[in-house]
Symmetry: C2
Subunit: 343 residues, 2 copies
């Protein structure tokens, strides 16, 4: 490092910055099976592994309390962490929650936040086992760590995709992003005309996807019942494009995504058109859907073909073939990972 040099963090992006900061950290503990670079870390404990994931949410960056009720925020903060544990094909069991709060927050408002956290704990049967509470000069910051358990030989990493594997997506994509666009627009209208009450009734689905997402525990249970182990898996938090890039990079492969295979909810489709947005772009780059992207061995296709809410959306290619999108019009485009642009 040159004396006095100043490189803006934006030049590296989130993932580049993490790579840069953590590249000199050797793993010393024999129990560390997987360190940085997946949805969660994996720690050996005999046949059962401990799976750990952590996320930080900052007011004004990740959430806006103008339209995000604190109860929903508490719920969502937990769910996004649990989603990372499920994406390892593991089951979350415990969480820790740390918050930094400015004096703007009352005991009652924090009670709302923790009510949402409690509901998520109840829904997903996880225990709140620790945390930290401190003050902050400004705003609210939430940091949650989820701890889960997985069978060593059933865990799914980002690195396991093989050429010829089928690419699968659960649920539908893009709705959470459109929900956010809608809430942002209503906020702007409300700021100019505080007397106009927003009517979000017609857009319940997209608003719900943004404010109260769920993690796909049901899928992990379905995999177990169907004796299916995906070859690789990741949760879709930053948009399909970004996630497929992670899988391809870590598996050393390429991919072909069929535009016709990307599941998009009808309400989201219509709203995208209303906003003059391309629904497929919303699905590729929107993020926050917390669905699962996974790959399966083609021999397992019969196991997923008739399962509800799983869509086959493409195939794993050789690395040299790149990452392509086959549009409905029959054109082949290079996919770009726009992903996460919080910096």
């Amino acid at each position: 490092m040159q004396e006095g040099q100043r490189t803006d963090v934006n030049t590296l992006g989130e993932f580049g910055l993490i790579d840069h900061l953590t590249k000199e950290f050797p793993l010393q503990q024999p129990s560390t099976i997987k360190g940085i670079g997946d949805d969660a870390a994996v720690i050996e404990n005999g046949d059962l592994c401990t799976v750990v994931s952590t996320d930080m949410l900052v007011e004004g960056i990740h959430f806006d309390l103008a339209y995000m009720p604190l109860k929903h925020l508490g719920y969502k903060s937990v769910v996004v962490n649990l989603s990372d544990i499920y994406a390892m094909n593991a089951t979350p069991k415990q969480i820790t929650v740390s918050i930094a709060i400015s004096n703007r927050f009352s005991v009652e408002s924090l009670g709302e936040l923790y009510e949402g956290i409690r509901l998520a704990c109840e829904m997903y049967q996880v225990d709140l086992v620790g945390g930290d509470t401190c003050s902050s000069p400004k705003g609210l910051t939430i940091s949650i760590t989820a701890i889960g358990q997985g069978e060593k030989n059933r865990l799914c990493y980002r690195s396991g995709a093989k050429v010829g594997d089928l690419i699968c997506i659960t649920g539908d994509l893009g709705a959470a992003y459109l929900g956010l666009q809608l809430l942002e627009r209503e906020k702007q209208i409300w700021e100019k005309h505080p007397d106009i009450q927003p009517d979000l009734e017609d857009q319940k689905y997209v608003v719900g996807r943004q404010l109260k997402p769920e993690a796909r525990r049901d899928m992990i249970e379905t995999f177990q019942k169907s004796a299916l182990i995906p070859t690789s898996m990741i949760d879709i938090s930053d948009g399909l494009a970004s996630e497929i890039f992670h899988i391809c990079k870590q598996s050393g492969v390429g991919a072909l995504i069929e535009e016709s295979g990307i599941p998009i909810n009808q309400e989201a489709q219509l709203l995208a058109l209303k906003f003059k947005l391309d629904p497929v772009t919303c699905a590729l780059n929107g993020g926050e859907d917390y669905e699962l992207l996974f790959t399966i061995n083609p021999n397992d296709v019969e196991k997923v073909k008739y399962l509800p809410d799983i869509y086959i959306a493409g195939e794993i290619l050789q690395a040299k073939e790149g990452i392509k999108l086959n549009t409905k019009g029959g054109n082949l485009h290079d996919l770009k990972a726009q992903g996460w642009v919080h910096f």
Copy 2:
């Protein structure tokens, strides 16, 4: 909760607030041995338990970058978490580190922070296995979770102290607090007279205790070698008084602390007098020394009597006798837990 009621968080204090927010969280997972309320949570994995602790550090609240170099901050952030794991009589193995940063921080300055984190990982042989990096509208927030391993029947909780047990303290207390006072004073002088360079050479010990504390891994190793299992243990992060209150509350006992038994470093003693502070008050309420406070069965007294750096400072009494300080002058005072006053 009454509609529109607004209770300031200051009315509850840190521990009261945590109790209030988390009282409705039942534990559902059979693997959760210990949830909220100790230095760390304990999760069962056969004979070995997973021990988890988490801390959040906020710029302007927990640290001041005017005198805290980023490398030291990184080191200290890790150490304070490891200290919680050692305080369970367990060994830390992995950490996750999440940071929220404003655009004031360059890649190079974050490199300094991570260099300190790396040094702590190397020193204590823990692996950095995950984390999150995001932007913040203001300042730096660091959230670290430490994951350790302990033998189920050797873990030490806050709740195990019995009447008649001896109270032991490692190292010395108060120096970290006096180091902070000194740095604060030098900062004020420097702000008024930027041409005057602070000379901290004579106070290396207290400044080092504040800027680069160490966790007492050596004590946990000593306990193992001496076949000693403390009946209860806690790390001294908020000052001796606050910690003895935690042990007494959770063990349902009282305590007598001998003022003459509280170890205070000579440099710290002299500096306290210079600042017109009572050295014992600094030891009782200063905090950030990251020493261990533990209790032992009186039958084990021979095991600790000749161990270096362990001081017997009192005895566990019945709850009804309260928590008392026997001064050097022979007076008996009720001890007050001033503790942590960040709100």
